[in-house]
Symmetry: C2
Subunit: 358 residues, 2 copies
């Protein structure tokens, strides 16, 4: 796969962003939703901020309080036996694989560009946590434009779990909060950009507990607010690069061959790559073909090293003719962009046996 990484990469880094809260530092500006608006490329950044700490014996956790509308900062001693601090991103319950708190809080902030390479970052957040389901932050937005409306949806994190919240905007100044559309545990929702045979469709990625794996499902809707007819779409593949967890990445791209979904897959060792899956144009619950090898994998320095290294994670692309401009988070730290050929991606897919025999 020919991949042209921009010379300007990384395009946005934590250092280029002024913290929103005094006494905080920006540790990530990544996993941005992508669209165009008024002739500009809009990068809706996930910005992760954490309280600055000079004390190496305590770990802090910022928590949004929806009743006071303020951020509160909890402090934990590294000696507290109730918690496990070994993962810098989370404060885990000791002896459990569940987290109790996060060490940073993410919100959504706009970066704008005329050329898609040089970005100016808005002074203030665009979307900040606002409900009791967003107290630990909001993460990894995607943007689907339908008519004049931009639907923005993202993971909402709280002690009650991780689910997906929908908002809508027409001007990227104000927005309407439309509630949680996928209940915990779910993230990596991707709403298709048009109705297909009278229904809206969305990919989603439940994380079941008792049995099952973090895999990609598909659901349908008639109003974007309420979703049902959940069906399992594609799963992990043993002995491949996507044997740990998978989830949708960019808004599905309509091509002559089918709906092309650029998805992320992680290995069991948490190395995140991008791959592709092709879905039937008339019935996107039918899988036609899938990448054997990744179309993008962490190779550049800024992809391999960072807060959480070895990660490329796209939440949105722009397609211009045969050119796929894939914007993607790197190492849970910064944003980058690479161009790929749409035709080359399509040609690389391995078709399902049942499709070949048709």
């Amino acid at each position: 796969m020919n991949v042209y990484r921009y010379e300007e990469n990384p395009l946005v880094t934590p250092a280029s962003i002024k913290p929103h809260k005094e006494g905080f530092e920006v540790i990530g500006a990544f996993n941005a939703g992508i669209t165009t608006f008024n002739g500009e490329v809009i990068m809706l950044l996930r910005v992760a901020e954490r309280p600055v700490s000079e004390d190496h014996h305590t770990v802090k956790s910022p928590v949004f309080n929806p009743e006071t509308n303020k951020l509160e900062i909890l402090s934990f001693s590294l000696n507290d036996p109730r918690y496990d601090f070994s993962d810098p991103r989370v404060i885990n319950q000791q002896g459990s694989d569940q987290f109790s708190y996060l060490t940073s809080l993410s919100y959504l902030r706009i970066a704008r560009s005329r050329d898609g390479r040089n970005f100016t970052i808005d002074e203030d957040p665009f979307i900040y946590p606002s409900t009791n389901l967003e107290t630990f932050g909001i993460e990894d937005p995607r943007i689907t434009k339908i008519g004049a409306v931009y639907y923005i949806y993202f993971s909402a994190i709280s002690k009650n779990g991780v689910g997906e919240v929908l908002v809508s905007t027409e001007d990227f100044k104000t927005y309407e909060h439309l509630g949680m559309i996928f209940a915990p545990e779910n993230k990596d929702v991707l709403i298709f950009p048009e109705k297909i045979n009278g229904k809206y469709y969305a990919l989603h990625r439940p994380v079941p507990k008792s049995t099952g794996a973090p895999e990609i499902w598909i659901a349908e809707s008639d109003n974007l607010l309420y979703w049902g007819n959940h069906r399992h779409l594609i799963g992990l593949r043993e002995n491949k690069w996507d044997n740990g967890r998978i989830g949708g990445g960019a808004v599905p791209i309509k091509t002559e061959k089918g709906w092309l979904e650029l998805y992320h897959g992680a290995s069991k060792e948490s190395r995140y790559c991008m791959g592709a899956v092709l879905l039937d144009l008339e019935d996107p619950s039918k899988v036609l073909a899938r990448s054997d090898a990744p179309i993008l994998e962490p190779e550049a320095d800024y992809e391999v090293q960072g807060f959480f290294g070895n990660v490329v994670f796209s939440c949105g692309v722009l397609v211009e003719g045969d050119v796929v401009k894939m914007y993607y988070g790197v190492a849970d730290t910064s944003m980058a962009c690479a161009e790929l050929s749409l035709q080359e991606i399509l040609d690389s897919l391995v078709y399902e046996k049942s499709v070949i025999s048709r």
Copy 2:
């Protein structure tokens, strides 16, 4: 709380049911959905069957194959190091808290009664697994009647996870399969029996993995097929009988005081009791009051002992004036019924402080 247990309890036991499949034994007839139809009480039983095994070195797992429409039986050696067989209900992955297979397969079968105490069991299943999301069985049905239509919904189990499937019937002879309405991991859905201010509502019980607990949420819909606006409703309570997991039980009962939901709560030690929560009549996402102590707890022999003892688990009640006829599964084995006073349940509830001060 005054509880009148029927003298006929248990009303239905595995011994009273002829296995559907040759070479199988019925090990459970429990957690039935309840309604009335044509002047009879309908108990829609969850019947669990397993292959008879004389060989004590192997464990068998029945799995429905949706492509052949047949049941297949897998055999596992008790010495297989990949699996943990210590829980008789499941075959767990070794070193994981996830199950890989179940040791029995559940389906739904009708028991009918004129007096609500003496039941005749249909010869054949009413609803049997039929899709790739039901390969490990279907469990714990509830029934909500809206107009002339009986909506039946149940947990669907497969290697992809545990979600909730909806079907509808008007005659309890044929039904229409309406797909999975709540994606994994979710069960214990309870659809309210009428629209409230123009919306359908349902309780549901996600089981999140990364953070959060098995607690009760509420969602809304305009067509019963697609659900959204998910909100967290009530949680576990430390140092109480419901500190392990909770989930909806019976279809919510409309009273002058509010919607009364009889729910199940388990302790961390998996002792299952029934409690009650009262929701606002006009906005069921508002919690008004909740049981401090259980309204029913496992005390009778048939509740304490069985395949999985110390369990009372109601999936449906009949209300006649002040009498709540609570049908409930006992010890994951059989069905029983007890009568309680609706007024006494309402009087026992402890109101939220914010409600008292209104």
